[in-house]
């Protein structure tokens, strides 16, 4: 089965990328755009992990590697 992990910066954490993108969009004439935030999405094929094991396993992947829980939140979607 597959998983999709969405990672975004915690509220209040500075997002330099988002800031720069917002600036650039203004430059391109999209003046009204604001509050741009950039996040990550990671899709993985879980191979032989069973429906039962998957949730806990992906959770561990997130805390141990995929997300930097100091500044990031993450959410997991399991797809099959």
């Amino acid at each position: 089965m597959k998983a999709r992990v969405t990672i975004s910066l915690k509220n209040g954490v500075l997002d330099p990328q988002g800031k720069a993108i917002e600036h650039a969009l203004h430059g391109l004439g999209f003046a009204g755009v604001n509050d741009v935030r950039q996040g990550k999405i990671i899709e993985l094929d879980l191979g032989d992990l069973s429906k039962e094991e998957a949730p806990a396993a992906v959770e561990r992947m997130c805390t141990q590697l995929l997300a930097n829980t100091v500044i990031e939140n993450y959410s997991v979607e399991l797809l099959d």
Partner: protein, 229 residues
């Protein structure tokens, strides 16, 4: 001869490039700010390395949209020679002036060191001072130099002599072991179809005197100036 260096917010090799061009050309190039809308008339447009707009979103993406680049693209299409180094190469691919794209280095790390490059196809204007197949030494300093192009594009690059440099070792061997960043076919630099644009990740402007550790860069710029004057 007159040369122009484009400067973006976050460019940081603009001065180095200016110094190298001036050393070979005798006079200083014009430095043109990204927000300007027209270019002075010039025999060479140079796009420097650095972190334009912080390399945020994608390296070179935001710079590629700045006002001055519309002019650069026009002039390039009209045949003005363009030298796009490192971040400049990324900007050039983002604007479509050069094919392909530059992805994060395969090992995920920034890499700064001298590399040996094999000169693949001749282009008098840019590498006329070197023999086809010889190796030259320029430094690299990048995080996103992993060149990608799809198969047709690669065929075209190969078939039409558009590959300028490949990552090699001193003896010109090109293989996995000499591929510092994961680029397809070890590609370090390419030309456009018309051969008036050179984009490369390595920095010739960084080895322009013995005191800096080498002169291949000086040879490169001397030739460029001679061929354009």
């Amino acid at each position: 001869m007159k040369a122009t260096v484009i400067v973006f917010p976050g460019s940081n090799c603009d001065r180095d490039l200016k110094v190298a061009i001036e050393q070979s050309m005798g006079t200083a190039p014009d430095m043109v700010w990204h927000a300007d809308t027209d270019l002075p008339d010039t025999d060479l447009i140079a796009i420097p390395g650095g972190f334009s707009f912080g390399d945020y979103l994608r390296c070179g993406a935001i710079a590629g949209n700045s006002p001055i680049m519309r002019e650069v693209v026009k002039k390039a299409a009209a045949g003005t020679p363009v030298l796009a180094i490192c971040n400049g190469f990324q900007v050039a691919t983002e604007t479509g002036m050069l094919p392909g794209a530059l992805l994060r280095n395969a090992n995920q790390k920034f890499i700064c060191r001298d590399v040996d490059l094999k000169v693949i196809s001749q282009n008098e204007r840019f590498v006329g001072a070197f023999e086809q197949g010889q190796t030259v030494r320029f430094p690299v300093a990048h995080h996103d130099g992993n060149y990608f192009a799809d198969d047709e594009t690669l065929k075209r690059l190969d078939g039409e002599g558009m590959i300028a440099f490949k990552y090699a070792d001193e003896d010109g061997t090109v293989n996995e072991g000499t591929n510092i960043n994961g680029s397809v076919d070890n590609i370090a630099g390419i030309y456009n179809e018309n051969g008036n644009i050179l984009g490369l990740m390595p920095h010739p402007e960084r080895l322009i005197s013995d005191q800096l550790g080498g002169t291949d860069g000086k040879i490169f710029f001397d030739n460029l100036v001679n061929s354009l004057s």
